[in-house]
Symmetry: C2
Subunit: 215 residues, 2 copies
């Protein structure tokens, strides 16, 4: 009975059974604990209970594993932004506001993924279907901007529309980065932490989102 036909998983079945997903989970955990630079493939393998060479059968290399993590991140990120956009209903300003909230919310609630996602060089843009899922978040934002200016989905962006788009994107992206890196803690006073930033300072900041009509 020691060696059941289906070795439940206890002692060390030669075949892991769920290695790929567990490597992804381990990678996310490591990044959460030690930051993106603290990730090592060997540590991920260690946590999954396999040898350092095992991951190679599921991912081309370390970059491959990180690419999978980033890809899943982009997928959820796009979903979150799309849901926020829908929450805005027919009001373009509200759509933008909800997206801004969702953008920063995602970053602070998924710091490991977010930081990895915006670290070019850590993942391979040619990995799987990156080219399709990654730009989705941007498309959602562009949609709300088009609605704001009454532009058709295929109409080219004017200079001013483009500037507005970049400013909107920049402000939430910059805020997310500053919040994650801790730079806002000092600006926002001693008391704080992430919840304070999300609940208190993010709404304050979002009041100054770009507005369509400017003198």
């Amino acid at each position: 009975m020691k060696k059941a036909k289906k070795p439940a998983a206890r002692p060390r079945p030669y075949h892991h059974g769920d290695l790929k997903d567990q490597l992804v989970a381990a990678a996310e955990a490591i990044i959460l604990e030690r930051g993106v630079d603290g990730f090592t493939l060997r540590e991920a393998a260690r946590r999954a209970g396999v040898s350092p060479a095992a991951p190679a059968h599921h991912f081309k290399d370390a970059k491959g594993l990180l690419s999978e993590v980033a890809l899943r991140g982009f997928k959820d990120f796009g979903d979150a932004l799309a849901a926020a956009d829908a929450r805005g209903g027919g009001d373009p300003a509200r759509r933008l506001h909800e997206q801004g909230l969702a953008y920063v919310n995602f970053a602070l609630k998924n710091p490991a993924r977010f930081q990895l996602m915006f670290r070019k060089g850590k993942w391979d843009p040619a990995y799987e279907n990156f080219a399709e899922v990654a730009p989705r978040a941007f498309a959602v934002l562009e949609g709300a901007v088009r609605a704001t200016f009454g532009l058709a989905p295929d109409a080219p962006l004017t200079d001013d529309t483009n500037g507005f788009l970049m400013a909107t994107w920049s402000v939430v992206h910059g805020f997310a980065h500053l919040a994650l890196s801790g730079d806002l803690d000092m600006a926002a006073g001693p008391r704080g932490g992430r919840n304070a930033i999300l609940d208190r300072f993010l709404p304050l900041m979002l009041r100054h989102l770009p507005m369509p009509v400017r003198k």
Copy 2:
């Protein structure tokens, strides 16, 4: 004559003479070529023509060398922002606009330094006089924001002022990050590169800087 008293530098004087500065220069060059993650202490030593253990006599460790690079970056960054602020004269809006230009300009003209500066964990905030020089850039921004709202230098920031400050900071910071990472190239169309971003899209974006009075 082979071994002159002052060994000019040719064959390999045992003592380098200018190692510290050359290590800093090498580090900046490496980061420029290979990115922050591409930096290695051994490569810096290699370029300076010394053994891998030599840098230890000038910097505590690899982080120490990077700290020196980041510190010099923050110094120049603060200078650039202060100069831009002065350029704005008595008009707070112009001061902010000039600072925004200078902020992104610095980032795109000094990509190696800028990326290192905003990579917590790569340098030590306790290194030398970091605590004094690093916050200077923020202080310059805060000064212009106070002028915008007519706040005294010692008056506490109101909620709205704080939101405005964070929004202003976020938008230029986010834009700089997006521009550096190449994400704007796609948003800004195929033609481009850094000059196009600086000359064309940055001014467009800066038109949407936060404005003091909001309904």
